[in-house]
């Protein structure tokens, strides 16, 4: 079988691995061992395609993401494959034994990763056996495979993190690793999807100014920028009805998670009424938005292409920010540290909600909204809207924006005492990662994945 056949089977195991989340009784040691094996094989497969072979002692230098995004992702995978503490590694024959015969026969997370690792092993061998230099298009195709599977690895590693950690520091490091890998792999996948020499940022469908790309949200301090970017994308790209429903749903989930975090932070904060009032406004915002979406999701549709960039930005918020906020619900101190960013989110969310309502109305005016119709009048089950069809939807969206505006006015005074969140936001590897991502999205895709990025505005070499 060829590389393509084995990697296709690996993807089916990966889909199964997404579904089979580890339960409380999972064999953590075995699953962790499969995760490390997968990281080894993804590193090696990426190395075959690109010639990049990270040294075991190489540290992840996220600031290099701007120049060498593929190298940073492979180095990160290599770091996961070779943790600081020694681990027992089964022999290849032990790996082979007991593998599932088919993804359809998988019954738990360990089996899914067992099958995935074996198929990755075979895919890597098949790629090596091709015996010819991997050309640039093929190299980018393989790197796209590696990036997608690396994101699945990050998701599964996150699933494996204990819900109630005994050791917060170790958990924090583990969260940092998985979040960074997820962010890097999505960036590389997006890069692999554009043509050589093209900018990593997509050109807008409306032919206007280029977008700001996707704002990643490795920490809550980037949430306001990411949400503001949703509004920016709405002004320069043509969203479809499903896109708008997806974004509204995501904002409902974000507001609810932020409200819970702020409510938890209020008792330990110096401004408890302010946080509690904002939490209440966000909770009502979430309720109105949720009602708008869930009562219309099955009824509305459109045949326009939509905005992949809007969905990519929404996915970034949904995959990283929302779970991160939910993880704050029983950590008041961490929630208090994040509260300045959540207050900023509360400040801007009403205008973003208004933008969604206006875009719905605009699509409706232009006849681009279709309504499911079970009557005989609609031959294909769909018809154009009447004035009454979207009244409830826009009413709920309007109510949501009004609810968000009831949050207490922002506090602009400079605090006399240092706020822990300011220190959290000002330091750490994530800041480097964010800066590097922003620079990378300014650059052009090189011909080969191993080449440094083609820079429109040169980035100084280190």
């Amino acid at each position: 079988m060829t590389y393509d056949a084995h990697i296709a089977r690996a993807f089916r195991y990966a889909a199964t691995a997404l579904v089979e989340r580890p339960g409380d009784d999972v064999d953590r040691a075995t699953l962790g061992s499969f995760h490390r094996d997968a990281a080894v094989l993804l590193t090696e497969t990426g190395g075959l395609a690109t010639g990049i072979r990270p040294n075991r002692r190489d540290g992840v230098r996220v600031e290099e993401l701007a120049r060498h995004p593929v190298r940073v992702m492979l180095t990160h995978l290599n770091t996961i494959a070779h943790p600081d503490s020694p681990v027992d590694r089964p022999s290849p024959s032990q790996r082979w034994a007991g593998r599932p015969e088919s993804p359809a026969l998988v019954r738990d997370a360990v089996q899914a990763w067992h099958g995935l690792v074996v198929e990755l092993l075979l895919a890597r061998h098949a790629l090596a056996e091709e015996g010819r230099r991997v050309g640039p298009p093929r190299a980018w195709s393989v790197i796209a495979d590696v990036a997608t599977l690396a994101e699945t690895l990050a998701t599964s590693m996150t699933d494996l993190l204990p819900p109630e950690p005994l050791d917060h520091k170790r958990l924090s490091v583990a969260r940092t690793i998985t979040t960074s890998l997820a962010v890097e792999s999505r960036e590389v996948a997006r890069l692999a999807a554009v043509a050589a020499g093209d900018p990593a940022r997509p050109v807008t469908t409306l032919g206007g100014p280029r977008t700001t790309g996707v704002v990643t949200v490795p920490r809550s301090n980037r949430l306001p920028d990411a949400v503001a970017n949703l509004q920016h994308i709405l002004t320069i790209e043509e969203a479809s009805v499903p896109d708008l429903l997806a974004v509204a749903r995501l904002l409902a989930q974000t507001s609810r998670a932020a409200a819970t975090a702020l409510a938890g932070a209020a008792p330990v904060s110096g401004i408890p009424e302010h946080l509690a009032g904002t939490a209440d406004a966000l909770a009502r915002h979430a309720t109105h938005l949720a009602t708008a979406v869930t009562t219309h999701q099955t009824m509305l549709g459109s045949i326009t292409l939509g905005s992949p960039l809007l969905i990519a930005q929404a996915r970034e918020i949904g995959a990283i920010a929302v779970p991160g906020l939910r993880a704050l619900h029983d950590r008041p101190a961490a929630a208090e540290a994040a509260s300045p960013h959540l207050l900023r989110y509360a400040e801007i969310i009403s205008t973003v909600t208004d933008a969604i309502r206006r875009t719905f109305a605009d699509l409706d005016t232009r006849g681009l909204v279709l309504v499911r119709d079970r009557s005989d009048n609609a031959e294909l089950g769909w018809r154009r809207t009447t004035p009454a069809d979207l009244r409830d939807l826009t009413g709920h969206l309007n109510d949501a924006a009004l609810a968000a505006r009831t949050a207490p006015s922002p506090i602009r005074a400079t605090p006399t005492a240092p706020i822990p969140a300011a220190r959290v936001a000002a330091g750490g590897a994530f800041i480097d990662l964010q800066a590097a991502l922003r620079r990378r999205q300014d650059n052009l895709r090189p011909v080969r994945p191993a080449h440094p990025m083609l820079s429109a505005s040169p980035v100084p070499q280190r």
Binding site: F11, A252, Q253, T287, A290
Partner: protein, 118 residues
């Protein structure tokens, strides 16, 4: 529109991948009918629905009998998606079905927690 029971339809009688998404959507819609509109579970059902979206295509949906409760509908949707994952023509669709199952699982968990707290 077809009226069919999600519990009695045999995958052998139709092109599975072509028909399974409308059937899953039918069960998701049935679950949404039963869930509180502003609940976390309903939002996760919408997320599963969105995961099945394909650009420029109107979402087709088969009507299914209203189940006894939302959990039954969600379990049916999950079972169909799980099977579709293994028969999908493309690995991209298989991954999309996998992501949809995760949302359905989250909906089931939220529903269970809400029911326990009620």
């Amino acid at each position: 529109m077809h009226d069919m029971s999600g519990l009695t339809t045999s995958p052998c009688h139709f092109s599975f991948e072509t028909e399974v998404v409308p059937l899953v959507r039918g069960h998701l819609a049935a679950a949404l009918e039963d869930l509180p509109h502003d609940s976390d579970a309903a939002l996760e059902v919408c997320a599963a629905w969105s995961a099945l979206d394909q650009a420029s295509q109107l979402p087709t949906m088969h009507d299914v009998p209203q189940p006894e409760d939302a959990s039954t509908a969600l379990e049916c949707a999950r079972a169909f998606l799980h099977d579709a994952m293994h028969t999908a023509d493309s690995v991209t669709r298989a991954m999309a079905y996998g992501r949809a199952v995760r949302h359905v699982d989250d909906a089931l968990q939220s529903h269970s927690v809400a029911a326990g707290g009620a």
